[in-house]
């Protein structure tokens, strides 16, 4: 999804403004002229300059016929859009379901669903999901002692 430079620039400008505004309540420290707000403010000015330059450039490109948004080819292919959204959904699924369900089922579901959605054969997708989940669980959970969420495992063990 390519946007015209002016739109990127506008986003940067807004970001710079928000950042500068957030530094206003930072406290003053008596006897010290430079506080925690100095660098963020310099950065917001710098970002604003970049934003302004991009707006100028995007505006000129617009004059030469550059559209506000260039529609990428994949947007016309529903399966590609679905695959992209599924990757994002997988991360959201882990964030929300990771703790209650536990690592093992969540990892298995994510890998299996994505592999099938990407066009893998269902049998091999399930095998890959099972093997990879157990391997990751063994390596990170057992060897490196990362406290992977146990979730529903607690109900059984």
């Amino acid at each position: 999804m390519r946007a015209n430079d002016a739109i990127c620039g506008l986003v940067l400008l807004v970001l710079a403004a928000v950042m500068a505004a957030l530094t206003i309540p930072f406290p003053e420290f008596p006897g010290q002229n430079y506080g925690p707000d100095l660098l963020p403010r310099i950065l917001s000015v710098a970002l604003a300059i970049c934003g302004a330059l991009l707006i100028k450039r995007g505006w000129q490109a617009r004059g030469q016929g550059d559209p506000w948004f260039t529609r990428p080819a994949w947007l016309g292919v529903p399966i590609k859009v679905m695959r992209l959204l599924l990757v994002i959904a997988a991360l959201l699924f882990y964030i929300f379901a990771g703790d209650p369900l536990g690592f093992l089922p969540v990892s298995f579901i994510i890998i299996a669903v994505l592999a099938i959605a990407f066009g893998g054969r269902p049998f091999w997708a399930l095998v890959a999901a099972l093997v990879a989940t157990l391997a990751i669980n063994y390596f990170f959970g057992s060897i490196m002692r990362v406290p992977l969420p146990r979730g529903i495992l607690d109900l059984f063990v």
Partner: protein, 495 residues
């Protein structure tokens, strides 16, 4: 001498040897798969090395990255797809050579000259780094401030064709680095009440997001597109290599030197070294008309240079804590986590660790030839691996890797947000490497800037009073002035 023996003992331990062997295979594998880069290999390795001692951790990164940069050449020659961006400069040339029936010679050249270029880079690193460290011991906050500015400026300047977007990325990275407790008085900034954000945005999840998750998103859009299969037969790749070395020894020396220099410049790594040396090779060749038709000369140059650059990038990383490329940007993050703050004092307090890294660099380049041969021989199998299964597993690995660093779900949130951000930014022509540089250098830059400001008490002249600081400051200002000048000059219509 004592230190060398100590360093040697640190390296020749079974766990270290096994680690670097596994890391090499991992690097070869990731590098050989188009779309998965050496930086991504490093990013995925970091969570695994997180719990290790410094030497095996750094050793794993050194070997994996060296192997990945080489093995990117394999699909370039076989499928006309660079395995990593560092091979992109000579992908067409390698593929055409393969079509001419010179596949064996091409792959042999890739593996042998990669190893030699790597060795050359290590030699320079071993001699230059300790010497520079001695100079750097005299540096104060003023020098470090200018050095960081100059380094970041170079990074943007060299690594992108669009400086405005490069700078925007860099400022974004620096802004991300300001999240959390500020380093001078300890006031929380931009945490929105989150306790976990007080420590700042964790660097490792951010890096995995920007380099690996964004790639997974990109792959999700191209997966299932028809892919060419490898059909070529691979024979004896070392036949005729001796003649190559004799014929192109001067090319090798020239390009390795350029490679180290480009690697050592902040922000520019193996990919840019390869493009530049390929162009230089063509310019000075006796037969430039053969370039682009399947001619080995440019490949000799560029394949040596990208591996030499890898070692060169460690020079500023170890000496000043300023990364030479995106891989060493990750390394610096790892060094901080291991309590070995990069900078000249590491050479004083922990010289055995530095020499240990040097020794591993040498071992990695020695191993590159036999392991490279194995990778070439098994290339058909590696390239036939079903991407549909691999990409979901990589995503899961990203999630667990990010989680492992902080043991908090916030890491996965960072993964999601910055992963999408990285993907959108790259789609719109913003490079992501400067974001990571900004995040790594942000705190150091702010520390030195604030210390200098307080020391100088508002007098900006103090930033130029010390001789080295003065020179560095003047150079930085000159580069900035030059950029503003070129930016303001009216451009030609088609530019």
């Amino acid at each position: 001498m004592d230190i060398l023996i100590q360093a040697f003992l640190l390296v020749v331990r079974p766990d270290v040897i096994v680690t670097i062997l596994l890391a090499s295979l991992f690097g070869l594998f990731v590098g050989a798969i188009p779309g998965l880069t050496a930086t991504m290999a490093t990013a995925l390795l970091v969570p695994v090395t997180f719990f290790m001692d410094p030497i095996p951790a750094l050793g794993a990164i050194v070997t994996a990255s060296a192997m990945a940069i080489f093995s990117g050449d394999i699909p370039a020659a076989l499928l006309r797809m660079p395995g990593t961006p560092a091979s992109a400069a000579y992908t067409d040339e390698s593929y055409k050579l393969g079509k001419k029936g010179m596949l064996d010679l091409t792959l042999g050249t890739n593996v042998v000259f990669s190893a030699m270029g790597g060795m050359f880079g290590v030699a320079i690193l071993v001699f230059a780094a300790p010497w520079l460290a001695e100079v750097a011991l005299k540096f104060s906050s003023f020098e470090y401030f200018w050095l960081a500015c100059l380094g970041l400026t170079c990074a943007v300047f060299i690594s992108t064709t669009d400086p405005v977007k490069g700078f925007a990325s860099l400022f974004l990275g620096l802004a991300f680095a300001t999240v959390g407790i500020d380093p001078v008085v300890g006031h929380p900034r931009f945490t929105f009440g989150s306790i976990e954000l007080l420590q700042g945005i964790s660097f490792i999840p951010a890096m995995i997001a920007l380099f690996a998750v964004s790639e997974v998103l990109r792959q999700a859009l191209v997966i299932g597109d028809p892919v060419e299969q490898v059909s070529a037969h691979i024979g004896n790749i070392f036949k005729g290599i001796g003649a190559m070395i004799r014929r192109y020894k001067f090319n090798f020396l020239r390009s390795s030197t350029i490679g180290v220099a480009i690697g050592a410049l902040p922000g520019a790594g193996g990919d840019i070294a390869a493009w530049i040396t390929y162009a230089v090779s063509k310019k000075f060749s006796k037969e430039p008309e053969k370039f682009g038709t399947g001619h080995i000369e440019g490949i000799v140059d560029a394949t040596s240079a990208n591996n030499a650059a890898l070692a060169g990038a460690w020079i500023p990383a170890l000496v000043f804590g300023i990364p030479g490329d995106s891989i060493t940007a990750i390394v610096i993050g790892v060094l901080y986590m291991k309590g070995m703050n990069p900078g000249p004092t590491v050479f004083l307090h922990n010289p055995q660790l530095i020499y240990g890294v040097f020794i591993i660099f040498i071992i990695a380049n020695l191993m590159l030839v036999p392991l490279g041969l194995i990778a070439i021989k098994s290339a058909k199998q590696i390239l036939r691996l079903p991407r549909q299964l691999l990409i979901p597993i990589i995503l899961m690995f990203c999630i667990v890797g990010a989680f492992a660093i902080t043991n908090s779900i916030l890491a996965v949130v960072i993964l999601l947000v910055l992963g999408i951000l990285g993907w959108v930014l790259e789609e719109n022509g913003f490079p992501v490497a400067p974001i990571i540089l900004g995040m790594v250098l942000g705190e150091m830059l702010e520390m030195n800037f604030m210390t200098s400001m307080i020391k100088a008490d508002g007098s900006f002249l103090a930033f130029f009073e010390r001789p080295i600081a003065g020179v560095l400051g003047a150079m930085t200002l000159l580069v900035w002035a030059g950029m503003i000048w070129t930016g303001l000059r009216p451009k030609r219509a088609a530019a």
